[in-house]
């Protein structure tokens, strides 16, 4: 065999591979375009609205328009993250991927890393561009803040984290759910459902809100943090815990499931206890009746056996009548 390959080289290989995958599909460019253009546009709009507000009062927080506008980009980068795995599961490409890299957690880490890096850059671009735009509009009305003011650079920098957090969380969810629509639904649910609970009457609203992703992000970037939520430092931990826990769950599951998404797979997971030794798994399997050979219960086996090689039109009378077209024309 060839000389052992250093870990760093193997890591670079998988990262390069995932980077090639990411930049060779159009969805990456579309989602990124939406993720960057939408918040910059919206923040400019919000700034204009605020600067024309009657009463000439300072907005709640001069940094808020920049962040709120990013919340509209959440879905776009979330989709980008989910797609990383869900398209591979959907097409079956994941088998090629895992056959090429049997260490599946390396694939998960590489996907999270390249998408995380890309969205971190995009997020910071958006954060600073929005900031510059908003302050340019607000300063005309003497409402803006300068980047040199203490606390502002850190807050703007932290504001760039939101897209990164959501995208890497999407990678984890895509790997767990293995389905595009399901993954996006899970992402939307995890981000927005807790936020809805945040409007419950005090003290419950704030007690829930301090753990939600969006409120944590606002707290991290706010120049004047809300007093009923966690402090910015703790909120930063909350913010990063969301993708971290999702990716941990994904890492746990990814080696424990077959790289296969079929009906049979699902029945298999339901009847198998998690994380058992091969020996105990085998003995439990032996206890089960050998359904495959029992004529009374052989339907599943015979169902596979009779499955046609390729889907095609049913022969004979089952074929739909062709005359319909003739009538139309």
């Amino acid at each position: 065999m060839t000389a052992p390959v250093p870990l760093a080289v193997r890591a670079r290989d998988v990262l390069t591979s995932e980077w090639t995958k990411l930049r060779s599909v159009r969805s990456t460019y579309w989602t990124l375009l939406v993720a960057v253009a939408t918040p910059i546009g919206i923040s400019a709009l919000v700034a204009v609205v605020l600067s024309h507000a009657p009463g000439k009062q300072t907005p709640v927080d001069p940094l808020l328009p920049g962040l709120i506008s990013q919340e509209y980009a959440v879905l776009a980068v979330g989709v980008l993250g989910v797609l990383a795995f869900s398209t591979e599961y959907g097409t079956g490409l994941i088998r090629t991927t895992f056959a090429a890299v049997p260490r599946r957690r390396a694939v998960l880490a590489a996907k999270a890393a390249v998408i995380g890096a890309l969205t971190l850059v995009a997020g910071e671009v958006v954060a600073f561009a929005s900031f510059a735009l908003v302050q340019a509009v607000l300063s005309g009305k003497h409402l803006g803040v300068s980047l040199s003011r203490p606390g502002v650079p850190g807050a703007v920098l932290a504001g760039g984290l939101l897209l990164f957090v959501v995208a890497t969380m999407g990678v984890g969810l895509g790997s767990i759910v293995r389905h595009t629509a399901g993954g996006i639904a899970a992402l939307v649910g995890l981000i927005f459902l807790p936020a809805i609970l945040g409007v419950l009457p005090a003290p419950w609203g704030a007690r829930i809100a301090r753990f939600t992703l969006l409120d944590a992000a606002r707290q991290v970037t706010a120049l004047h943090p809300a007093t009923d939520l966690f402090a910015p430092a703790a909120s930063l931990l909350v913010l990063l815990a969301w993708p971290a826990l999702t990716l941990l769950a994904a890492a746990f599951l990814i080696t424990r499931r077959d790289a296969l998404k079929t009906f049979f797979y699902r029945t298999a997971t339901r009847s198998r206890a998690p994380a058992t030794s091969p020996a105990s798994r085998a003995s439990r399997a032996r206890d089960r009746p050998p359904c495959g050979r029992d004529p009374a219960s052989a339907t599943p086996a015979s169902a596979i056996a009779r499955r046609p090689a390729r889907p095609g039109p049913a022969p004979g009378p089952a074929r739909p009548p062709k005359r319909v077209l003739g009538k139309v024309f």
């Binding site: 060839t2 290989d13 060779s24 398209t87 056959a99 090429a100 049979f264 056996a305």
Partner: protein
């Protein structure tokens, strides 16, 4: 070399592979034969570490697949040719897989040339025909120049020219000293490609033999005899303990006595023989003899 040892794979109540053991050696094209649902694809997935076996082991070059580093240099596989991202180009698809195993761009270009995909290298895969996807899948399998190759139904969707190409291709790979395992449910295809056959049905091993032996051992081997004194000759043959089945056109189908023996017997008794034809079944018939039992059973299941 591929070694499968007492492999069992269950999906819930469904047993896809049921105590399967076999060894695939280098230097031959080994056919992996069985009806749809026999467990061929599942077995290949377990060999590639994609599905975890319920029990038993599958090893490639004396190692478990999961422990391989840069596995494409040791095992190349074509499982499902349609498993690709439709928006990616052929080059990007190949390159992304090559990079994960430290394989460079020149090799990617070489594989595209070898599989005749150079002209469409920068086209998006959604426009590819199944035949082109099969070729691309073969390019993926060959990226790392591996000593072990597995192809799951590689001729599906190929035209006559493509089938001839892949057949000759697999033979060349085996002649190179590589281990080549090709699954198929088409006996005629295997008859022309494989030297050795592993036949499975319902997840169990039915036969592990050479293609020639499988055909020879079939119960359908017989000798067709035509004679103007057929009835007389039939009695003589029966007296030697062989079985005679009269055919509709007056010929005799003889099993249990070979052609020279029948000829000698006829000469001894001065009986003229007009035809003496040893008949061997097609691989397809031999295969049906082997799997007939389970096929019949399956057909009877409601």
């Amino acid at each position: 070399m591929i070694e499968v040892d007492h492999l069992v794979k269950r999906f819930g109540a469904v047993t896809a592979v049921d105590g399967l053991s076999f060894t695939v050696r280098p230097g031959h094209v080994t056919g992996f034969l069985g009806p749809n649902g026999a467990g061929k694809t599942t077995t290949m997935r377990v060999i590639l570490g994609l599905d975890a076996p319920t029990s038993g082991t599958a090893r490639v070059n004396e190692k478990s697949y999961a422990g391989l580093i840069r596995p494409l240099h040791q095992v190349g596989a074509l499982l499902d040719a349609s498993a690709l991202h439709p928006g990616r180009t052929a080059t990007a698809h190949l390159a992304s897989i090559a990079q994960s195993n430290g394989i460079g761009r020149p090799r990617v270009a070489e594989m595209l040339r070898l599989t005749g995909l150079e002209a469409v290298a920068n086209r998006r895969l959604k426009g590819f025909s199944l035949g082109m996807k099969q070729r691309l899948g073969i390019a993926v399998a060959l990226l790392g120049d591996p000593p072990v190759l597995m192809f799951d139904e590689p001729v599906n969707g190929l035209d006559t020219e493509g089938i001839a190409w892949i057949r000759q291709f697999m033979r060349a790979l085996a002649a190179d000293g590589r281990t080549v395992l090709v699954s198929s449910h088409l006996m005629s295809e295997m008859a022309q490609t494989a030297d050795r056959l592993i036949v499975i049905g319902r997840g169990r091993l039915i036969a592990d033999t050479t293609t020639a032996q499988l055909i020879e051992s079939s119960t359908r081997s017989d000798v067709l005899v035509r004679s103007p004194r057929a009835a007389e000759l039939a009695d003589l043959i029966k007296a030697r303990g062989a079985t005679v089945k009269p055919e509709e056109d007056g010929g005799l189908a003889v099993t249990g006595l070979d052609a020279p023996a029948i000829g000698d017997l006829a000469a001894e008794h001065g009986i003229a023989v007009h035809a003496l034809i040893p008949r061997s079944p097609s691989l397809e018939e031999a295969y049906l003899d082997l799997t007939g039992e389970s096929t019949d059973f399956r057909a009877a299941t409601p």
